[in-house]
């Protein structure tokens, strides 16, 4: 073998704390190394060209690049060696940046460690074998989980690109949080006027198959070939027959059901259609508040229904679909604001959340768009907004900024003035975060044009006094405590990851952070990808964001799906496990340990043997580490290769 070694300076990233030339000199004496050289930026065009030329001119048969993490540039350099005619797996990378120069300051020690890492890479390369990728067929269909604005955008864009879409939404209607909003910032345009037509598009698009009031029961398979089981929750109404006329909701005698869509600001009937623009516009029975389903006598809705759609015997049922890619767009929840006892949240009816306030502002809300206090239905004149309730608060485990509260609070202050011209709004804030296009101008408008009084400081307590709420706090710019008698207090409650996000992440085999937000593949370069091939992210499930950003991610995820499934066949990674049947004793340990179900049991002349399904294998190596016989070997990471690396390290 003729090995070439390229040591990268990475500008000063590596060269500042590693003696690159010394590493080059050491590399020259390593076994089978015929060429070693340093390079300012190996990943740059001249850097890659130098590798290609060296391969051609010196007849190299293997290449080692010592630079950054392989997660960054391994694909880059594999393409480089491939362009010069080598098999892309005859390449190894030594990470002397993240593992050396960025973590240590001692130049001599760093240089020694860099030499060790290069030697290990060389020893591994010597045992590398040519690997040829296989091609697997892919299903040209995408699963979109979540029917909020991000999911809707992803679904419509995929359908526009000619892809079949299966959309799963856990609520009875799509629309997500945006459908609950009255207006949107910074244009103050009607939320349902913007979103409504898109929701209708989803319903009418022939390529989109919508499953509302459904959940993901399980997902198996791999990129291009996912098998998805969808659990359709019982609605007790046959949606094929239901016309959405709403007659049942008028006649239902159980009128005290918690109104989820209106965030508890009103009450609804046991059988209901969440809101006028609901998609699908079908009735659902809430079993807990239905008189008949909770054991009593009733049956009014079944009698009144002109299309005999009501079916009290309906059960949850499961369906399966095959898709080639998945877009997770599961959105967010509001954090539990009742932990803030000092604001009286949950105790005083006139202390409400920002989302509840949206329902009071909305024409389709419980008050028909007239702002009325929940306690006595009176129109409030003095409205206090408290920002950062559950955002930027490490003491409740929410140290992050929710990102959208400053803006929606400014919008709500503006709308309050629009609805009640003789009202006054007070906004207690820590910082105003308004970095979007037209955003800061908007918060200024709230103050200058709509006379919202912004108070830089926090509220310490809210307590009732007669029919008013006394709000005590501080204006830190004046350095004095302030006090106000308010009619209504609106808490700008921050967001958090959906409660079920971690469970779904485990089903999708994607990572999530400490707060339950799904992890993107790379914070800058792979914002909508995950580390699981074929699974993409859109919207607030990846981290809280406002509507424009959610829509942008929805489109981005769709572009990724369309790109992935633009071919009928996908190239599979040949770095998979394989079983040496002569050594396999059929202990089944590998089968139990495989997280992907990629190993099956086969009968070979009466003996049990393990067999790897190559297309399913993700090359994680768990089976290799588990096999007591060393019968399972992961190509490109064989036991012998790992031992060669260890030996190189121990002998140095």
């Amino acid at each position: 073998m003729k090995i070439g070694v390229f040591i990268c300076h990475c500008g000063s990233n590596i060269a500042a704390t590693v003696d690159v030339l010394k590493v080059v000199e050491s590399a020259k004496s390593m076994p089978e190394v015929v060429y070693a050289v340093n390079s300012m930026y190996t990943c740059s065009e001249p850097g890659q060209q130098a590798i290609e030329e060296a391969i051609k001119e010196r007849g190299l048969t293997g290449v080692v690049v010592a630079s950054c993490t392989p997660r960054m540039h391994e694909p880059t350099f594999r393409r480089t060696v491939e362009r010069a005619g080598l098999n892309r797996y005859m390449f190894e990378m030594a990470n002397i940046r993240e593992h050396v120069s960025w973590v240590g300051k001692d130049k001599a020690a760093n240089t020694a460690k860099a030499v060790d890492l290069v030697r290990m890479a060389v020893e591994k390369l010597r045992l590398d074998k040519v690997l040829i990728p296989k091609f697997i067929p892919a299903t040209r269909k995408v699963l979109v989980i979540g029917g909020g604005v991000a999911g809707i955008q992803a679904a419509l864009d995929c359908a526009e690109g000619g892809m079949d879409v299966v959309m799963v939404e856990s609520e009875p209607s799509i629309g997500g949080k945006m459908s609950k909003l009255d207006k949107t910032f910074p244009t103050v345009d009607c939320s349902s006027c913007v979103l409504g037509p898109r929701m209708v598009d989803v319903a009418q698009n022939e390529r989109i198959e919508l499953h509302a009031y459904s959940e993901i029961a399980s997902i198996s398979g791999y990129v291009g070939n996912f098998d998805v089981t969808i659990r359709k929750k019982a609605t007790y109404v046959d949606w094929d027959k239901c016309t959405g006329c709403g007659l049942c909701t008028e006649k239902c005698p159980s009128k005290k059901s918690y109104d989820r869509f209106n965030e508890g600001m009103g009450e609804t009937t046991a059988i209901n259609i969440p809101f006028p623009q609901a998609i699908p516009k079908k009735a659902t029975i809430t079993a807990a508040s239905c008189r008949l389903l909770s054991g009593g006598k009733c049956g009014v809705c079944a009698k009144i229904c002109t299309s005999q759609a009501v079916d009290y015997t309906q059960k949850d049922r499961e369906i399966t679909v095959k898709v080639g890619a998945v877009v997770a767009a599961t959105g967010y929840d509001l954090m539990d604001w009742t932990v803030y006892g000092e604001y009286g949240a949950g105790r005083y009816p006139d202390v409400i959340t920002s989302l509840q306030y949206e329902r009071l502002l909305s024409a389709s809300g419980p008050t028909g768009g007239h702002i009325r206090r929940p306690s006595d239905g009176r129109e409030p004149k003095e409205v206090v907004f408290i920002q950062c309730v559950g955002s930027r608060d490490p003491s409740v485990g929410r140290p992050y900024c929710s990102g959208f509260c400053c803006m929606y609070t400014a919008k709500q202050a503006i709308l309050t003035k629009d609805h009640i011209p003789d009202s006054r709004s007070y906004v207690f804030y820590m910082d105003i975060r308004s970095p979007g296009k037209g955003y800061d101008e908007f918060t200024r408008r709230a103050q200058e044009e709509y006379k919202a009084q912004y108070i830089r400081g926090r509220v310490s307590t809210v307590y009732p006094k007669g029919d008013k709420l006394v709000v005590k706090g501080v204006d830190t710019l004046v350095g004095e405590q302030v006090e106000l008698e308010a009619d209504l207090v609106v808490l700008a409650v921050g967001g958090e990851a959906s409660q079920n996000a971690p469970k779904l992440a485990e089903k999708l085999r994607i990572s999530y952070d400490g707060y339950g937000f799904f992890m993107e593949g790379h914070p800058k370069l792979k914002p909508v990808e995950t580390n699981t091939a074929g699974v993409y992210l859109a919207g607030s499930c990846q981290g809280l964001k406002d509507i424009p950003s959610s829509v942008a991610q929805g489109s981005a995820a769709a572009a990724k799906v369309l790109g992935l499934l633009s071919k009928d066949k996908l190239e599979s990674d040949p770095q998979t496990a394989g079983v040496d049947v002569k050594r396999c004793v059929g202990c089944r340990k590998c089968i139990n340990v495989c997280p992907f179900g990629a190993i099956r049991e086969v009968d070979m002349r009466g003996q049990i043997k393990a067999e790897v399904i190559e297309a399913v294998c993700q090359g994680c190596g768990l089976c290799t580490a588990t096999c007591p016989q060393g019968a399972v070997q992961l190509s490109h990471f064989t036991d012998n290769q790992v031992l060669a690396e260890v030996e190189a390290l121990c002998q140095s």
């Binding site: 000092e342 930027r392 608060d393 490490p394 926090r458 706090g473 501080v474 830190t476 004095e480 405590q481």
Partner: protein, 192 residues
């Protein structure tokens, strides 16, 4: 007032406050929660959040000569409400100690009351209200202040003439002794 010279912040002061209070001053992002809930704020020259800010800027003189550090009642509302879990009351306590050690005048009456209180505890193992008031009034010469409260307190049995001494007075006295010997840590039982 002279402008604060940002370049001349007293780093040693910041470090001392941080070490003695075991709190990280950098964690404060100036939300104002401490100042918002402080029940003694009406007596302060600087609000609690302003004091923390002044410590962040290393303004030893402004902090240690402030009225606020002496008016703090250590009710700990600030510490309870701080989103960054800074024990603000403890920081102010440390500042009070520093102010005394370094000879800043402070609020004379508060200081005298604290001394009279501690003297009473050292002698009796707990406060003897009447004796405490007597000492305080002798030192401040404010004989008639709050006198109107006395009858009601007498009726409720809150002002016994003789001190109600606890059993293990020597153990309490021991705490004072150890503190005097400079082992404040031991006096507090090893815990901050």
């Amino acid at each position: 007032m002279e402008p604060i010279q940002l370049g001349n912040g007293d780093a040693e002061f910041i470090r001392k406050v941080e070490v003695e209070s075991r709190q990280d001053m950098k964690k404060c992002y100036q939300c104002g929660n401490c100042a918002a809930g402080c029940p003694m704020s009406f007596t302060y020259d600087y609000t609690a959040s302003q004091l923390i800010r002044l410590i962040q800027l290393g303004q030893r003189q402004r902090v240690l000569s402030s009225r606020a550090v002496w008016m703090c009642a250590t009710c700990e509302t600030c510490s309870t409400r701080c989103p960054n879990e800074i024990d603000v009351a403890r920081v102010l306590d440390v500042c009070r100690h520093m102010a005394r050690r370094e000879g800043y005048a402070g609020e004379r009456n508060v200081r005298l009351f604290a001394d009279a209180f501690l003297q009473s505890v050292r002698m009796n193992g707990r406060a003897h209200e009447l004796g405490l008031m007597a000492v305080f009034k002798l030192r401040t010469l404010k004989f008639f202040a709050d006198l109107s409260l006395a009858p009601a307190m007498l009726l409720k049995g809150k002002l016994p003439f003789l001190p109600h001494r606890i059993k293990a007075r020597n153990e309490v006295a021991d705490i004072f002794r150890r503190f005097k010997e400079g082992r404040a840590e031991d006096a507090a039982g090893g815990k901050p």
